[in-house]
């Protein structure tokens, strides 16, 4: 029963990550992404998915999606028809989930595989199908072909169901849609579940695909950069959109040890809060952001001085970056002067509901391989930044890293990860 809870552990349980999967414009899977993030590769190109000829901005970080077939998923789990119903977002989600599942070594034959929670963050789910529904309904009103399928499959919970089917398991599906904090919130919610003993294992992450409505939306707000996405640069002029998915498999430390699993890292802190300042603009001095970072550190039992690298939300918009810079400076105090900060959105764009989850996986890579992801194309630091922005690839001994995610509507989320050695 979800309520009342059957038992509380006397101490919060330690939560480790044993599987991670991601797909971004840098590539599919750990290796190409790690190689790309390590050197600060940028993956933007002209948008090919829809017409952008009338937009101010014409580039984004598109993913090269492989054809999905039985070489990707175990034969018989998903049929051809099921795969055909998936849109880009669903396909990216499946690929990331499959990679994470394989890496974790979890098996569908295990006893709790019929009650394995799945927590997803997304802002638009299967919006590409929703757009197709709308276009056909308006442009060919009497034509009904495929409309029923679109009406069902655009819903993000169906994409979650497809993941469980593909992995051969069942369990409660939770879909969080806190705008661009969704992916971090999903992982944080899963962390809370495992830590409190409500589940021993959880699959969590975030995903979103590029779609015309959202691209045009950000362009209409003049939030997209007409030049290049340069978070924290004094000359920054907007964000760049991307697409992708990031998934992690979380479990208790005891469970991982019992299985003899390879532990990729430990998730030690999470907090979330809401900024009531404005629907689309953060509080200028970043007060709520300071609070969420402080709370996450308190839960992790670490001080700002113990954070070795900070993966910023860093969208590249004037307002977000100045607010976040102020918050980081306040939160870190004197430590800010030596705290390496970067935003990986400079390389793969803003993945919206997928951002927080993909960036958590990037942090995991950095911890595992001991490097700091740089952001290239950075020229003039914003005077509000009291911290060094990482601009050159370099190795570094990282033990504890922090990742920020903020969303339209004001939900903020901070995750803290620790190296497993």
């Amino acid at each position: 029963m979800l309520f009342p809870p059957s038992h509380f552990p006397s101490q919060p349980l330690r939560v480790v990550i044993t599987g991670a999967g991601l797909i971004t414009a840098l590539g599919r899977g750990w290796k190409p992404n790690a190689e790309g993030f390590r050197v600060g590769r940028r993956a933007f190109r002209p948008v090919s998915l829809f017409d952008v000829s009338h937009q101010r901005v014409k580039v984004a970080a598109e993913v090269d999606l492989p054809e999905l077939g039985s070489e990707v998923f175990p034969a018989g789990r998903l049929g051809r028809r099921q795969l055909d119903r998936l849109d880009r977002a669903g396909k990216m989600l499946l690929l990331a989930a499959q990679e994470s599942w394989r890496q974790s070594g979890w098996q569908s034959s295990e006893p709790d595989a019929d009650q394995l929670p799945l927590v997803l963050g997304t802002t638009s789910g299967g919006m590409l199908l929703g757009e197709a529904y709308y276009r056909q309904a308006v442009q060919q009103p009497s034509r009904q072909r495929q409309q029923a399928t679109r009406a069902v499959q655009y819903q993000s919970q169906l994409q979650g169901r497809m993941v469980l089917d593909a992995l051969g398991c069942s369990g409660p599906i939770t879909v969080i849609s806190n705008a661009c904090a969704s992916g971090a919130n999903a992982i944080g919610h899963a962390w809370n579940m495992v830590r409190a003993g409500r589940a021993e294992r959880v699959i969590a992450g975030g995903y979103d695909a590029l779609c015309q409505l959202v691209f045009c939306g950000f362009d209409s707000l003049q939030a997209l950069s007409p030049t290049a996405c340069r978070p924290f640069d004094a000359q920054r002029d907007g964000l760049a959109l991307g697409e992708g998915a990031g998934i992690v498999n979380l479990e208790t430390l005891d469970c991982a040890r019992r299985r003899g699993a390879e532990i990729l890292g430990e998730l030690i802190g999470y907090s979330t809060s809401i900024d009531l300042h404005h629907l689309t603009q953060p509080q200028p001095n970043g007060n709520t952001t300071v609070t969420v970072m402080q709370q996450a550190c308190a839960k992790a039992g670490v001080t700002p001085e113990e954070i070795d690298y900070l993966n910023a939300h860093g969208t590249g918009t004037v307002l977000n970056d100045s607010s976040e810079a102020a918050a980081i400076s306040t939160w870190a105090g004197r430590h800010a002067a030596t705290l390496p900060v970067s935003s990986t959105k400079a390389g793969i764009g803003h993945l919206l509901g997928g951002a927080g989850a993909v960036e958590a996986v990037v942090c995991l890579m950095a911890l595992r391989e001991q490097w700091v992801p740089p952001q290239t194309h950075f020229e003039t630091p914003d005077p509000a930044c009291k911290f060094p922005v990482v601009t050159q690839p370099h190795d570094a001994p990282l033990t504890t890293v922090l990742s920020n995610s903020f969303g339209f509507g004001g939900v903020n989320a901070t995750l803290i990860l620790r190296r497993w050695a």
Binding site: F3, Q115, P141, A151, Q157, S170, T174, A179
Partner: protein
Amino acid sequence: MGAVSPAGWDVAAMRNALDRGQPLPVQSLARPGWDHRALRVRLVPTPIPRPEFLAHPRLRRSSPISHYAAAAALEATAGLHAQVGDEALRLGIVVCLQTGCVQYTCRFYEETLKNPATASPLFFPETVYAAPTSHVATLLENVVVACTLVGDSSAYIQGVALASEWLADRHVDACLIIGAEETNWIIPDALLHLDRKAIVAAGAGALCLCRDGTLSSGVELAAITDAHSFTSGRSRPLAAKTMREQLGKCAPGELLADGLGNNPRTDGAEQVAWSDWTGARISPKRIFGEGMMAAAAWQFILACDAVARGQYTAANISLVGANQQALGARVIAGQ
């Protein structure tokens, strides 16, 4: 508790409509480009006079779904504010949506298709699922944590479970769980493909959970079942049956608030699961329509309302969602 429904802008209007037992009148919506296809809906009546809170800067240009959610939230927290005062209260809100902000989404996409260069920047932020949550949080002011959940109607009970976790963790003193939907032509048009008998409804419902029993309206959350998802390994009927089994047998003086509409095909799983129920039963969708997440909230609220008024000693709420999972909950008269 708070509610906005096709019956009106408070719980009393909804309760009265349920007591009358007659399905509410149906309106027609025009479908762009296809005059012959009349779409049947139950809309929320225009409030007269216009509520003062709609003059709040956040709500002036927002979508109707935010208005409904805000009205339900204010009604649900009215007693709480009166007894506790704003300063002392740390509030959480969970907003649950299935189709979300469809009016501005369609308007913005329509403009995008006509000419993206002139699409209105005012519309786009209101298309985001999290927009109503943000507006309601700003209106209530003392919100410290918020979350927007998306899913089929069963996600409303997941929202209640999340709120109970925040309360148990002492993260908040009280937590609102809001289910809300608005509609335009595209929702009944889409639903025609899936359930031709359903009549789409709009509105919202809000439930306020708090730890302090002295603030209670006389109802206590007793149980929430596991979430039984529908997957290739577990059919919808099996999920409904398992959920029902977790809620136990019917006892005298208990109520069942179910999610039955008027379609044997879509109702079948839930009907079979509860075929042994011999007690009193309400089926709000048959009166108000298919309000998706709002309907889930109405079910929960009407069950709580009946227990709070002393009509029943306990109530079970059954939510067998359309395509995600089955969840149930049980409320009892407070001590």
